[in-house]
Structure formats: structure tokens, C-alpha cells
Subunit: 268 residues, 3 copies
């Protein structure tokens, strides 16, 4: 079967950075199927890059190689690394961008510091390791190269910290960590955080949202739902919640829980 390599970067569509990386990958492993996850990570936004690849990676076949290049420290002292986790491989800078998709807790977790320069392009620039290091290493791994040949095994890598959620018996304090194409406001509160307790209302910006929905097809102006990745989300059916509320990433969110004994929302 053909190898699969995905790309997640902050390179945008205007330049030829992404095309150039694909040329290198195909030069190293001609049969590769290359798939874009996104190249619209905001410039140097490691957290959004980490969220994007974490959302997509679980849906790719075993053996897929994910190259993630959001790299504000390119050419400086940060390490270039490759990580094995969940039967897939991840290549990128050691700045936390890989850690949501390839968490240390994976049973097959291994990581190497990319030090084998024989695998890189012969001339390595100081400013475009996506082309000169990550793409050729991704191609090497895609064609079956062993992780341990790419560098030295390391025990730990830089971990990304998502903003913490503060939970008490009656409320959960979180924040908006992402706004999608449709203006849906995605919080850092996972469905599992609710622990089967019933949500009474969600406060965000100047409003209190008390309607809940499972879909975007609703008659309410604003609803709370659990999105397809398992995060609590505030949405405006067929409109943009971000535009309606005038809020975005970083906005505090307060989830008010029903004060009775544990009950599922289905009991309502």
C-alpha cells in the first residue's frame, strides 16, 4: 500500500513553501500519498497547530507519517524530533506541537532527536527546516526507514500545556481555545470533564446560554453542544457565534452545573 504523509503548517497558501516540502518528500519516497491537514495555522501558533493535528491524526491509517511544522524557533536551539505513538509517526520541532497528537501516555511512545544529518538535504538553511530536515526525514520514514536511524532516542520532549480548567462542585471555569470556520466557539472543556453532571447554563461574554442542542439545525440563537471532537462548544445555528458575541480565543467561559446528585443530561 502507498505510504501516507500529512502536512500541518503555518505556511499559508501564498508562497511555495508547502509545494517545495512536497517535492522533497516525493524525491525521497516517490509513492507517498501526501495529504494536507491545514496550512492555515496562525503564524507561529504552536497551540493551534497541536490542536489541528490532534483532531485529524486518529482518523488516518496506521503507519501514517505526520509532519507538523509550526516552528518559531527554527534555526535556533530547539531540537528537531520524531515521535512514534498510536501506531503512527510524527515529525516536527520540539516545542510541544506534537504532544497532543502523540502523548507520552501512548503505549508505543518513542521519541528521537533528529541528529542523523545524512537523511537531510545536503545543504540545510537556518530558516526552512520544513524543507531541509522535516520533509526528507518524513520521506525516509514513509518509505519504511526506522525511527532509530533518524537520531538518538530521548526520554522526554517539550510538553504543550493547554490552559487549565478550574472545576468545582457547581461550576467549571474554562476558556475559548479555538474558533472554527463557522464561528463556533470551542472551549477547553471536554465532555468527560462534566462527569455526567447536568449543565444548567454557560456564561460567555455578556450572555448566559441556556439552550442545548446536538446539532446546528436549531431554532435558538445560541446553543451549547458537544462537538465532533468531544469539546464543549457554543454555536449559533446557521450563523457565527463568534460574530454574534464579539468574542474569540481566550474568552472566559463559565459552565454552571445543576446542584443535585449526579444525573445525565438525558434525564432532563
Amino acid at each position: 500500500v502507498p505510504p501516507v504523509v500529512t502536512l500541518t503548517t503555518d505556511f499559508g497558501p501564498h508562497d511555495s513553501f508547502v509545494g517545495t516540502m512536497k517535492g522533497v518528500i516525493l524525491s525521497r519516497c516517490r509513492e507517498t500519498q501526501i495529504v494536507d491537514v491545514t496550512h492555515e495555522v496562525p503564524p507561529q501558533d504552536v497551540r493551534i497547530g497541536a490542536l489541528r493535528i490532534a483532531a485529524a491524526a486518529p482518523y488516518f491509517p496506521p503507519g501514517t507519517v505526520h509532519a507538523v511544522v509550526v516552528d518559531p524557533g527554527v534555526g535556533a536551539s530547539r531540537r528537531a524530533i520524531a515521535v512514534a505513538a498510536h501506531s503512527q509517526l510524527f515529525v516536527g520541532p520540539d516545542n510541544g506541537v506534537l504532544t497532543l497528537a502523540a502523548p507520552r501516555t501512548a503505549s508505543d511512545w518513542r521519541a528521537v532527536h533528529l541528529t542523523n544529518s545524512d537523511l537531510w538535504l545536503s545543504k540545510v538553511s537556518s530558516t526552512f527546516h520544513g524543507r531541509d530536515i522535516f520533509a526528507p526525514v518524513a520521506g525516509f520514514l514513509a518509505c519504511g526507514g526506522r525511527l532509530e536511524r533518524a537520531g538518538e532516542l530521548i526520554e522526554s520532549i517539550v510538553e504543550l500545556e493547554l490552559p487549565a480548567v478550574a472545576a468545582s462542585e457547581l461550576e467549571i471555569m474554562g476558556m475559548v481555545i479555538d474558533v472554527d470556520r463557522f464561528g463556533n466557539l470551542i472551549t477547553n472543556i471536554r465532555e468527560s470533564e462534566l462527569d455526567q453532571r447536568t449543565v444548567d447554563a454557560v456564561e460567555i461574554g455578556s450572555v448566559t446560554v441556556t439552550d442545548f442542542s446536538q446539532t446546528y439545525d436549531a431554532s435558538m440563537r445560541l446553543v451549547v453542544l458537544v462537538n465532533s471532537d468531544g469539546w464543549l462548544e457554543i454555536a449559533a445555528p446557521l450563523a457565527s457565534a463568534s460574530a454574534i458575541l464579539g468574542v474569540g480565543i481566550g474568552e472566559p467561559v463559565r459552565v454552571r452545573l445543576r446542584p443535585e446528585a449526579a444525573s445525565t443530561r438525558g434525564d432532563d
Copy 2:
């Protein structure tokens, strides 16, 4: 030969929705060549989605599977369907988005309501059927799965209505239904509608355009032409007609025909 699957969505490039769908398709049919038609359909704009896939599909090889996900009713009562037409297959919501590309008039037209949940992802969300239903079904069909295995044959699907053209002996009333990258104003008037009659002028916004061209390489400020898909179009050579006229989708267009007997424009 490798199967081909195309994607047409309103997901935009910023999130990982599209990449995730591709992961599912490759997980179901590893050899697939996946091609993007566009992901910049305006959010929930079923008509633009229908126009995009209708323009592109005829140029793809027989057997191509087109997944079209512009789906304002996701998770609600609209059906998920697959349609065979013109030796190709189309997968998407039953909201009209497929009907320009896969019209009922095709001699090989067949449609199924996607009810065989064995083909879907094991956990189906209420908000992302692109990932959970349409992608795995597209992968199934791409690898040769039979349409009838995906669901129950149905006799009719929701048809998209394009805005109607009103034609009389001396004029055709239409409207702008699309504006392309270059600011060309594409109308809902097909070349065949002219029925070989000669166009004298086209009125749009506050202007009357009386120049005609076959190309964008012209010295006039505004011209009327028949575009590469057969639609009547108002264009500004090397500039944006939309910007010059300050008009866009929905703008009325009046085509004035020459009052004599049928004659082709080539007679001018």
C-alpha cells in the same frame, strides 16, 4: 488504476475538517487519489456548492466518486444520499447540492438513501457527517463497493432550483449567480438560451455593456462573453467587473436582443 475521490465542501482551509475526511477515506481505501474541487463554498451555500461540482465533475474519469458536503441540516432530518449519474458517483446530503452534477435526466441515474450504518464510522457525531458518514461511504464506493450496498434505492431526491430566467422575444431577464476569483460576473443565462439570436446589449447595475469579446484580452472596460462553462458573463479585461460595477451575486441582468430574424452573432 487508482480510484479517484473528489471533495467539495464549505469547510474552508483553517480547520482540520478536510484533512480528517481524507484520513477516513484513505483508511477505507488506501489507494485512493483524493482531489480537492474547492473547500471555499460560502458556509451553507448549497447553490454555490452545486455549481462548483457541476463545473468540475464532467472533466473527471469515469468511476470517480465525488463527495460534496455543504450541509446546513447535518444531524437533523435531511437524508444522506449517494447518486450514480454519467458513469460517476456522488455522495452528500439530500438538499439539492448534487442535482446539477448528477441530474435525474442522466440515463444511468440511480440514487440510494444511505442507511447501511455498517459502512460508517463506528461512532457517528451529530455535527460532522462529512467525517462519519460521507467519507467512509466514499471510500467504500471508491474501492468498488456497490451503490446498492450503501442503502435503499430511492426514486427521487431534493432538486436544486436555480433562479429562473425570464425570456421574451426581445429580452432575457436573469441575474448574477456567481462571481469568480477574477471578479467576472457569471449569470444564470446559458448560451443555449440565446437560441442563436444576437445580443445587442447587456444591462447590469447602472451600465449598459455593448462590447462583446471571446477572451479577457481586450481593450474595452467591460465586455460580455460566454465563459468556459457556457454561461453568459460580464467581465472586465485584466480587472474586476464586480469591483468596477460594485455588484455581486443576485444582481439583475437584462439581455437585450436584436429585433430582427434569427441570426448568429458571427454575422455582425
Copy 3:
């Protein structure tokens, strides 16, 4: 091994132009791996198109076919051409867009005027040669078709002229010719132009930049560096030099050289 075809256009992502071209290529050569270099060349900007493919092409495998469609003269008298150079093939309009990537100086340079209409789509529009001529010819070449079968050998093609650099003993006058995603200001001055002389300062807009860096990871507000393609560049570490200086393409740049005998910057 599967053939590779790249696409570089000014078609943008909103329409189905690019997807349609890919359908034609796959219809002619089903095994092709199609790679986007970029479709965000500014409309009709031949120079940016030429820079994009010139930056990317060297990183693709031998035999790659590059289709470059930035074509303000489509349907008019400009020729459609294909060029062989550096063991790759290039297809596009004869307006200079191919000449940076496929320079006449390449030892294997050959060019043909695309006149063999048997290779084109059966119906050729006046406005979309990307679909009707360039895509099918690219598919033909990708599947091993001989260049000479696509048309008649020609001795010269239209050459693109980059804005000239004016160099004297103590200074080099150039200009900004590109602004990348990160706001870096790329000049038309190549590292080789410095001829190992030491740069004292770079004047651009209202400022004089005297700091130099090899990476974007620096504490200075603005730095001069040689970018990954070998061009002199003014950058703002982790910010946008273009936004800070309020300048873009066309802005004059003056490089002041140290008045002593030839010495490399490494001597500092």
C-alpha cells in the same frame, strides 16, 4: 514510479478551476500524483508566478511536469509552450512565467510551441486554456509522451526580466520583489551579488537596518538575512517586517557595503 505533475496558478481556491484541471490530468494519466505549488499567485502577476515555480521546482524529482498557468493573454495571440530543462518539463503560456524555473542556460533546454491540438480537449474555450490545453498536455507528458509530439521545436521564448539591481563599489540598489506569509520582505538581491563583501547596513522605507541574523529567532526588531532561497531579506523576528515598515513589493532597498577590501561577513 508514479508520474508527478505540479500546478502553479493564479486561480485561487474559491472556484473549481483547479479541481477541473486535475480532473483533466487524471483523465489523461490516471496514475499521476498531482501537487499544488500555489494557486494564490496574485491575478495575472506573471513575475510572482515565475518566482513561485522557480523556488519549488528544484526540489521535485527528475521527470516532474510543472504546469504553470498565469495567463493574462489567454485566448489571444500569446503562444502556449512546453519547455524541458534540468531534467524536468514545464508547460504554460509563453509570457515569461517559465523562464526563471527553466532558463535558457540549462544544458538540456528545449522548447516547443504547443500546436498539436490532437492532445487538447476536443472543445477548446477561449478563456480557460489551463483546462483545455495545458492540463491535457501535462497529462500527456506525465505519462511519458515525447515533448516533440506536443508541437514544433522553437528556438526562443519570451524571457521574464526581473527588476535590475544596480551595484557599485559601495552600494547595491535593489527593491522588494516579494512578501511572504510572515511579512518578510524579499529583495531582488542575491547572496552571490554581495561577492563576499561585507554589508554595513540596509536602508528600506524610513529605516536603516544594521543587525544581521541567520535565523528568525532573534531579539532585534528588524534584521537582514539571506533567506532559504538565497535572496537578501529584511525580516522582523516573530513579527511582520512588512507591517512594521508599511512597505511591500516595489519598495526600493539600498545595501551599503563596507568600504574596505573584500572580506566575508564571517570575519566580523
